[in-house]
Amino acid sequence: MAELDFAGPVLTEGGTWRFPPHQPLRLDSGAQLENLEIAYRTWGELNADGTNAILICHALTGDQHVAGTHPISGKPGWWTRLVGPGRPIDPAKHFIICSNVVGGCMGSTGPASINPATGKAYGLTFPVITIADMVRGQAMLVEALGVDTLLAVVGGSMGGMQVQQWAADYPDKLFSAVIVASASRHSAQNIAFHEVGRQAIMADPDWKAGAYAEGKSRPEKGLAVARMAAHITYLSEPALQRKFGRELQRDGLSWGFDADFQVESYLRHQGASFVDRFDANSYLYITRAMDYFDLAAAHGGVLAQAFAGARHVRFCVLSFTSDWLYPTAENRHIVRALTAAGCRAAFVEIESDKGHDAFLLDEPVMDAALQGFLGSVERERGLSR
């Protein structure tokens, strides 16, 4: 894959972009990250006016492979429902950008990267990062790609937090913003579930206080348990019941602790396949970034203040009825702040029993809403023929 120089914004299908030398990423914690790298992918081409770029922000365990085929799992990208030929976000019309967040483990600088100062993996010496830090890195990448204004910045869950952060920090670079199944701050329950996941990782003897990179084994058991617990929060009770009920794996009970129930087997599989593609320390850092997210806090405790500079931005907010991780009330809270700030917002709660994961799944109403929204944004931007 090609690499980009800061000086020469070449449009490729992606690669790893390196921050220019002597230009560290300044973090909210006060620390700085030198020689930052951001792994990204693009689809389509930037038009002559530079008006068709769409940035997609990924969720906690997502990555830059939003469309196409994932290089590790071999599965389709995580949002092929919305991104691809003939989809609402279409490489034939749009210049699509998706990058791995700072602190991630799919090519961007994160705790598994080598610290240039020591020649060893960062591990826990990696600085704590925030959603705003992730967005600051994205903004540098977007600029390096020659994009001045984004037609849209789009994201679900943690991706939606980044979208809000974009609206707060870089409103002049946005024409529209799409926030799906997200929140403006992490609730006590959100933090609590993340803490369970982190404790599972840290309780694994192979974690070795984060310095497992030098050893042979990784804290796979802990990370798998973290994923299992988190996965339950992405589903809904009715969806789990419908899919598994009390169905058994085999005839009869084992009278032991094997995975008797199908739901156990399913969760174990979710955990086991997750460790192949995710780094335990990255999981700690990214969940921390989400816990620290509280957009209003940085604006005098008034969320509307965060959006005060974004009155020209068109917003679309979507939530799902059965999402109890980032419920409709949290999304409506964002909408009310947008309204109070005088922003143009569209909002709809979509009927679904699939829980938080609905935003990644087959939800025709979401597709239609997004298609309609982006279509009107394109018309307003003078893109539609």
Binding site: T339, F347, V365, A369
Partner: protein, 218 residues
């Protein structure tokens, strides 16, 4: 085929103005206003299907209801707030009307007139709740919980210190008829009516917003 009350709203709204349509349904009126009057339109709609339809028309519509979600708009965000055939279905019509004229300089409000002769006839002669063109559903299925007559509405506008800038009556599928709402006969003749309202005195002449009638208040 454009609804007669929509035609009247199209006539009343100034081109290029900022309009909030409360209870905008599938966005038919907002779409008309955007295309014909180049308004900067927003909508509030309670049904998800309605909001989804609006979004696919490219309208900025928020799912919510008039009783709760008007409170979140800042003062005088809009030139017009439109409440078409919805006031009688709100839980707090007085509050809603007050809010409309807080967030917008002018309100366009229409509602079925419970003083129409057919309604009175149904009650008087048959002793039954009316089922008319303007009130098509039986009492047990209607969303209308706060029905009023033209005279009742006039009293409320007086009570709230609201000024009536225009009033039109509708009957059957006929065109709008400009009326003097204070004439008692209109309360018999109008099947539904539409008001253009503003604060008293009108906002164009009063900056900052006028004090209320009470000398000691404001």
């Amino acid at each position: 085929m454009i609804r007669e009350d929509f035609k009247e709203i199209l006539r009343l709204v100034r081109p290029g103005s900022r309009v909030l349509d409360v209870g905008c349904g599938e966005g038919v009126l907002l779409d008309l206003l955007t295309r014909e009057k180049q308004v900067d339109g927003r909508g509030l709609e309670i049904s998800a299907a309605g909001v989804a339809a609006c979004m696919s028309r490219g309208l900025s519509v928020v799912q919510g209801d008039a009783d709760q979600d008007l409170d979140h708009f800042p003062d005088r965000t809009f030139d017009y707030a439109v409440l078409s055939q919805t006031l009688q279905a709100t839980r707090r019509p007085r509050h809603v009307l007050d809010e409309l004229l807080r967030i917008a300089d002018r309100a366009v409000v229409s509602f079925p007139n419970f003083g129409h002769w057919r309604v009175r006839w149904s009650l008087l002669h048959r002793g039954r709740m009316p089922e008319t063109e303007a009130l098509p559903l039986p009492w047990w299925a209607t969303p209308n919980i706060h029905l009023c007559t033209l005279a009742d509405f006039l009293a409320l506008t007086e009570d709230l210190g609201v000024r009536i800038d225009a009033c039109a009556a509708f009957a059957g599928n006929g065109p709008a008829r400009q009326i003097d709402p204070t004439k008692a006969i209109e309360n018999w003749r109008a099947e539904s009516c539409l008001f253009l309202l503003s604060r008293n005195p009108p906002p164009a002449m009063a900056e900052p917003p006028a004090p209320s009638g009470d000398l000691f208040d404001g």
